[in-house]
């Protein structure tokens, strides 16, 4: 950990009630500091405001109070310094795999030769060699999300934001994708903020897990995951991993019961 990358300073979000209904507090004022090269997962039950927090960091949603700062500069809207991978498949269907990966580079005016070099290296990293000319609809869900990760990383963002990126994938594919993402992070050491409701996923990937409460959301606990990198799927059965998983299970269960009762 070297220095501060992202500061979330008392950021809160209220969705105004339409047509006389009461306003919904999606996110209570939340404060969080993310160190450079951290891999942070935000774990919480659905509807806890974890996606709202991520979207505010991305600049896709506006907070009602507080401030988000990236490298000391306030975030006012979306930008290429914060790459994002969504849960839904958001590849541009009219572009091939390599054109999708090149999209951000093209927007910022990177030359064609430079683009081709960067695209080829990310096609390699996410294991899509041979599929460069395929259209998104010809790809499986896992391949689409690998392309989406490559597309976000090709832009060389300061921070990578992932909003339940593997939520729609089957269990086996999801496990493989987690290893792939972790492998890339271990080599490139990007700062990552990863939202999920999957306990095992949050532990396997993160150096730090933040547990959020049921709506109105706030950060309930901040747990350091002191398992050494590089990690393989084998750590999922170690005593330390299982102990952490048990602890998180208890915390999340309490929140899920509260969320369900609302």
């Amino acid at each position: 950990m070297s220095g501060l990358k992202l500061e979330i300073d008392k950021v809160g979000r209220v969705f105004p009630g339409a047509g006389g209904r009461t306003a919904t507090v999606a996110l209570q004022p939340t404060t969080l500091s993310v160190g450079a090269n951290d891999f942070i997962t935000i774990l919480g039950p659905s509807g806890c405001g974890k996606s709202t927090l991520l979207r505010i960091v991305a600049g896709l949603d506006r907070q009602n109070e507080g401030e988000v700062r990236l490298d000391g500069r306030a975030v006012t809207g979306p930008g290429r310094d914060r790459g994002m991978v969504f849960q839904s498949y958001t590849l541009f269907p009219w572009l091939t795999v390599e054109e999708n990966i090149a999209f951000g580079l093209k927007e910022s005016g990177v030359s064609a030769t430079e683009r081709a070099k960067i695209v080829a290296s990310y096609v390699e990293k996410v294991g899509l060699k041979g599929f460069e000319r395929h259209w998104p609809k010809q790809l499986s869900g896992g391949m689409q999300q690998r392309t989406a990760i490559a597309r976000a990383l090709a832009n060389d963002p300061e921070i990578l934001l992932l909003d339940e990126p593997f939520g729609a994938l089957d269990n086996q594919t999801r496990a493989l994708m987690q290893e792939l993402l972790l492998g890339i992070w271990e080599r490139e050491r990007k700062t990552v903020l990863f939202v999920t409701h999957d306990i095992e996923e949050s532990l396997f990937l993160a150096s730090r897990v933040l547990v959020m409460t049921a709506r109105p959301g706030r950060i309930k606990s901040d747990i350091a995951v002191d398992l050494p990198y590089p990690r393989t799927y084998k750590i999922k059965t170690t005593a330390a991993f299982v102990a952490l998983k048990e602890r998180l299970t208890e915390e999340i269960r309490a929140e899920a019961i509260k969320a369900d009762a609302q």
Binding site: R82, F86, T90, W94, W135, Q138, L161
Partner: protein, 258 residues
Amino acid sequence: MFRPLEPIGPGARAALGLAFFAAFVAVWAFATLGGYVSPTFLADPLTMVEQGRLLLVKHNFILDIGMTIWRVVGGFVLAAVVAVPLGILMGAFKPIEALFEPFVSFARYLPASAFIPLLILWAGIGELEKLLVIFIGSFFQLVLMVAISVGGTRRDLVEAAYTLGSSDGGIVGRVLIPANAPEIAETLRLVLGWAWTYVIVAELIGSSSGIGHMIVDSQALLNTGQIIFGIIVIGLIGLISDFLFKAANRALFPWRFA
């Protein structure tokens, strides 16, 4: 055989499609050649073919066909050149939509054929009047349908582009337009079909050339064979233009058909 949504083979599909054409002509031939319908009201298929041949060989009907196609394409291209960009802007920018949408929705219901007397007053019975009829008939439909397609662009694609560094202009040019290009092409195909109706109406009312003009002339001569031939020619041209549009879509938007 009649299980809902059960697909059928391409051979059976073609055979059934042709069979209905054959049945249609057979009923027509039976009614006319069998003497059940007076030839004054409805020519038989053989007379129709013979009259069509005469039209083409002796009366330069091919020039009329060319004239009509030119009018449709001319009026339609003029409408599309203005309507498509305006529709894209309306779909993309809500203030522009708020400004134009109520008026366009109203104007869309004004029947183009009702404008013909007025347009003849303004522009005479020359080519300009024909082009204006088609322009009015297709412009408002095009604007509205394009605006709806563009306005319905998947929001998550727009958001993804923003996080990749797109500017507002980049969103329009590199997300909204390519994402909706196939729908816009489909809208053009559909509205071109309607433009065909308007051109014939315009030619029926005041014209010295074109398929519609030939049809009115033939009515005066009670030549139902020629009228039917003219109608069939319009149908065939429609079929061909549809086919060309579909082929162009396949070539232009391979990602849709992969």
